[in-house]
Symmetry: C2
Subunit: 396 residues, 2 copies
């Protein structure tokens, strides 16, 4: 075996997923088999911040039997960050990598992390430092372009689908006429759209689905809700946290005190609370809201087995390609067959994905813009891994 020289660094950026640690293991495991005896494989603590603050963790100190528990754990085991680099910081990063003789750099993350990886890759090139840089896709939002889907999405979708099954069963069994549940998603509705898989019977929840891809109107929403309640006596709506009106203003109660996350994106949320209050005050109907929020990306019980497998595979593929001399890419997933579900792994230039958000295609949205077409289930179903808990009904 032709072992390679040089050290490696793995970091996790942005919001965690239930399977992100599988990707770290995938990278680590492949590197360890292929790097020479003297090579070190570091984990960067709190994303790229660890590199600047010299908080690196030697991953070879992790006992082999601890990796199983780590891979099963949601959350970023190396901790994560929301930090963007400018070109100067990217140069500093490369100087530090150079000092530590790190020749392989992996960033497991979403759009923003891919931007960081791209900048480091370009800075290394400009500085003539031989560094292999790979992006390992990860996001529950599923909004990275040039890949069929993103690791993390399948598990988060599984959580959302099961939650709508559970919620629908509860609301059906007790006449709380209206429940509005909020789903994560800053600009894209992939995750909210997945809620449609909760439906089996004609009147199963969710009855209405609202996405950030469609300008939101409170008036239309109230009309929609009333119509469903008139028809069957109860209604469950799925609303994305990123809903915006036609002027682009986020729906939600925190307009006045809008906080921003570390990337300068507005912190959204409380859309469901706002809309439930609107239903109560405007229609007089009883309405409540639920917002699982971060729980939607934090559950090990609702992890998708397919997602876990793919998260590990994209890590492994990233390592393989860098070891073969490739740099400046993100691993991608291509669906080569839907039934039976089968994927192949490819690569796409970081410049193609950094800061690019892929929205839900309009073809999946119904004409009334308040629901998702049945065809979408073919896309999501293979990703959620295994059967869901579904409940019988006895009485009308």
């Amino acid at each position: 075996m032709n072992l390679k020289a040089g050290n490696a660094l793995i970091a996790q950026g942005g919001g965690p997923t239930p399977v992100i640690n599988n990707s770290v293991y995938g990278v680590f495991h492949e590197l360890r088999r292929n790097l020479g005896e003297g090579s070190r494989i570091w984990g960067s603590q709190q994303g790229i911040s660890g590199l600047f603050e010299n908080k690196l963790f030697d991953l070879s100190t992790v006992a082999e039997d601890s990796w199983a528990a780590i891979a099963r754990s949601p959350g970023a085991i190396l901790r994560s960050c929301r930090r963007q680099l400018d070109w100067e910081a990217a140069e500093t990063a490369v100087q530090t990598l150079q000092k530590k003789e790190i020749r392989y750099f992996f960033y497991v993350g979403g759009n923003d992390s891919m931007d960081t990886a791209l900048k480091i890759s370009r800075a290394a090139h400009d500085m003539n430092y031989d560094l292999m840089v790979a992006g390992v896709p990860k996001t529950i939002d599923n909004d990275l372009p040039e890949t069929d889907h993103c690791p993390g999405y399948g598990s988060a979708a599984r959580f959302i689908i099961q939650s709508f099954i559970d919620l629908g069963n509860d609301v059906y069994s007790l006449p709380t006429p209206i429940s509005i549940m909020e789903v994560m998603g800053r600009n894209s509705g992939w995750l909210t759209a997945a809620s449609m898989l909760a439906r089996m019977r004609p009147d199963d929840a969710p009855h209405l689905i609202y996405l950030p891809e469609v300008p939101f109107s409170v008036e239309s929403f109230l009309t929609d809700i009333q119509k469903v309640v008139d028809g069957q006596g109860w209604a469950v709506a799925a609303v994305c946290e990123g809903l915006k009106d036609k002027e682009g203003t986020p729906i939600g109660i925190q307009k006045e005190s809008r906080a921003r996350d570390g990337f300068g994106h507005p912190m959204q949320g409380d859309v469901s609370a706002t809309l439930a209050a609107a239903v109560r005050s405007r229609t007089g109907l009883r309405a409540r809201s639920e917002k699982p929020g971060l729980l939607g990306r934090a559950s090990s019980l609702l992890r998708s087995s397919v997602d876990a497998r793919e998260a590990r595979a994209v890590g492994k593929k990233a390592a393989c390609r860098t070891l073969a001399g490739e740099t400046g890419f993100m691993v991608s997933i291509q669906r080569v067959s839907e039934d039976p579900y089968e994927v192949e792994y490819g690569a796409v230039a970081l410049s193609e994905v950094a800061n690019v958000e892929r929205l839900l295609p309009a073809k999946f949205i119904t004409g009334e813009k308040n629901n998702i077409r049945d065809e979408f289930s073919n896309y999501v179903k293979p990703l959620i891994g295994g059967k869901l808990e579904r409940y019988p009904r006895l009485v009308d």
Copy 2:
């Protein structure tokens, strides 16, 4: 075997739990073994409403192998209601029972349902109709008096504890400094208090716990949060949906448009959203909120095995006692041993429990009134059934 004559009626009232259907099965199974061939065992659709609307379901038509799926299902399989009876309605109910030759009536429910059972029991007595009435306890709030705990609580506690483990792991891994998660509970903090079992390490979530038993002050809350963040950089708080200030006014954004549930209780909620907004605007710290809401009582995956077993047992005991000629009681649970956990089932007069709410004893609340004492874990731990998913840490 000495088989009994007469028909029976089983109803489910109030909010469902993950194990409430076990109680229906417990009652049904015991009755079927003991009632004569010609007896019918009815399920009342939508709680007591089914009796008035003549929507009764013949439970003997359920195939034996369907009961396993029903028992595993959260939500009320007969559907439920929020309906209180006055004395006149109670008399009408008894007349209807009499017409259908129903001699056994079981109401699976909480405080309000016990009031209905009591009224029907008294009306039957006054009308000289020989009716055996039993209350079967059920409530995730755990606020029925004269019983160690209530079926439904253990499963809901399991959900809340696992959710705080998951949330804490997520917040730790990404620097969102503050998350505030809301837990169900109108007036009692039993369920919110259970969140303390999520803690294993000294800095594990939740770091602060606020209960409706303690008058809530936003100022103290902000000071508490700031202190935790100053100490360890992040904070997770558990807040009960029923928090009220010292005047008794509910904390929450819906003060102005306060809706009421079917029993006339105000519909609460959105406490976490309100408090997260207060943190952001008052301290400048980034804060977000989560509110699993109804999901907390609707999950089959987080059902407690102990809870399921006990829910079935209280149903069975209710049936046994009525068959032995007892009436006007609710089945109670006594803890006879903590380690190993062991219970016995008793009975308490409906008049002792109807409309009485049992609050969390002050001895479990810390001196600062913002947390739960360690001793409480001895109470909750045996009820949640089985191990929780806990996650390792690798880096500081």
